[in-house]
């Protein structure tokens, strides 16, 4: 009898342990392909709604666009990738200023791109998980005329289960890789110093602001 009891207890304990282990290894907020696809679709829709809203002032529109952009893009992650090996050589202050300038430049760049918005829409096609916390979403931009433009989005799932965009690949051209190559060259032409790069970035930001 004692033997029986202990065996069933053992069984129950093992079962409980298995359940705990399974739950432990699978985060309760694990994301699905469909959720990744929907995230991109919703993001594009919100961006279009924001820039197309004629009820609010330009300043208000820019501010909303910036908020949306900063919340949807993992700018620190992209910035670290862009700076690559120079990131570790930089002091915390330099890293901080780099990220702040990089964010401003990126937001202004995309705000300007959206200013030319002309009724295009984004159609998401499929999504697939291609890494531990990494997803690739295939989509294309539909234009009023002309062929569709294929766009891929690389997403990263953060610890709280939310998605952030880390790269956009338009017709095979990755924004992050292009930036990395661009920034590395700008840095080298300034003697490989972070301060040189930061000063070029400040100038670029002023130009972008002046151009509106």
């Amino acid at each position: 009898m004692i033997k029986m009891l202990s065996r069933s207890t053992l069984l129950r304990a093992t079962f409980t342990l298995l359940v705990v282990l399974t739950l432990g290894t699978t985060p309760s907020h694990a994301q699905t392909d469909d959720a990744a696809r929907k995230f991109v679709g919703a993001l594009a829709q919100r961006a279009i709604t924001t820039v197309a809203d004629r009820q609010i002032s330009q300043i208000e529109r820019d501010e909303r666009f910036r908020k949306l952009f900063v919340s949807a893009f993992d700018i620190p992650e992209i910035g670290r990738f862009v700076l690559s090996r120079y990131w570790r050589a930089a002091t915390p202050d330099q890293q901080q200023e780099f990220l702040s300038l990089f964010e401003d430049i990126t937001v202004l760049t995309w705000a300007k791109r959206f200013q030319d918005y002309n009724g295009e829409s984004l159609e998401t096609v499929s999504a697939s998980k291609d890494g531990d916390h990494s997803w690739m979403v295939d989509s294309h931009i539909l234009r009023n005329q002309g062929p569709q433009v294929p766009v891929q989005w690389r997403l990263r799932e953060s610890d709280d289960g939310s998605f952030r965009v880390v790269d956009i690949i338009v017709e095979g051209v990755s924004m992050a890789i292009t930036h990395r190559s661009d920034y590395a060259s700008a840095m080298q032409s300034n003697g490989g110093r972070i301060d040189g790069l930061l000063s070029i970035m400040r100038t670029k930001l002023d130009q972008l602001k002046a151009a509106g």
Partner: protein
């Protein structure tokens, strides 16, 4: 004179061996002729700023988009023999068939190629060139090159472009019997039409990049390798909706592998 000589032998200095990351970057950038390339790049930039870009802007202002589409469709249709030959040389027989069908449909129903009637009928266009073909054959691109007037390239793509200029049957025809004006017109219209198509994209790169030269180098490389991947895996053109097909998956796989 000495300056010119220095320019021609001008090479980028490789980083020292004790900096493996810098070395890896140098190899990945693969631009040993960078100093010379930059000089040619800025000369091209000058020509573009004062000549080609204004022409493209004027063309956009003067000709409505409907007209511009007719012209670019016609230019594209006239390149069909080149696309067809390269499709065959790449072993992409299904794509070669599509090129042939497009040429027949667009030249007849599309009134000498002015209208791309094949696209709405489900035969979208694609471009194949001899640089791609050589890439499919396994020839590497080699170091980055900026060609005078033609811009970003590499030894493989430059050879491909040269070979094509001798292989185009229409060019042969136009260069004989006092038709040189037509040859130059075709070349000029193609240049302006292409430049117009890239107007916004290039303005954007120029505005947002810190170093226009290296941004263009990166863009060219990435774009080219995407095109070559497309040529190596043509199934993306041929079976656009494979997952919606009623055919069993293995039949489709066999079909695409055969190409």
């Amino acid at each position: 004179m000495a300056a010119v000589a220095a320019l021609l032998v001008g090479c980028a200095t490789p980083p020292p061996d004790d900096d493996p990351e810098a070395k890896a970057e140098f190899e990945q950038v693969n631009d040993p002729l960078e100093p010379t390339n930059r000089v040619i790049f800025s000369a091209n930039e000058g020509i573009d700023t004062y000549f080609l870009r204004p022409l493209a802007v004027g063309y956009r202002t003067a000709v409505p988009s409907f007209g511009r589409d007719r012209i670019s469709d016609m230019i594209d249709n006239l390149k069909s023999p080149i696309y067809f030959a390269n499709d065959l040389l790449q072993g992409n027989f299904t794509l070669a068939g599509a090129t042939l069908e497009r040429f027949a449909l667009n030249t007849s129903f599309g009134v000498f190629g002015l209208m791309d009637v094949a696209e709405p009928m489900g035969i979208p266009g694609h471009q194949s060139d001899f640089g791609q073909t050589m890439a499919v054959w396994g020839i590497d691109d080699g170091p980055y090159l900026v060609l005078p007037l033609f811009g970003p390239s590499n030894p493989r793509d430059a050879v491909g472009m040269l070979a094509e200029s001798y292989a185009d049957p229409l060019d042969y025809y136009l260069q004989t019997g006092g038709r040189h004006w037509a040859y130059w017109t075709r070349m000029g219209v193609t240049a302006i039409s292409k430049r117009e198509a890239y107007l916004d994209a290039l303005d954007d790169v120029k505005r947002t990049s810190l170093d226009y030269y290296s941004a263009m180098r990166s863009l060219y490389r990435q774009r080219r390798s995407a095109e070559i991947n497309g040529a190596k895996n043509p199934s993306q053109y041929v079976v656009p909706s494979a997952n919606m097909s009623a055919l069993p998956a293995n039949v489709l796989t066999e079909d695409t592998e055969r190409q």
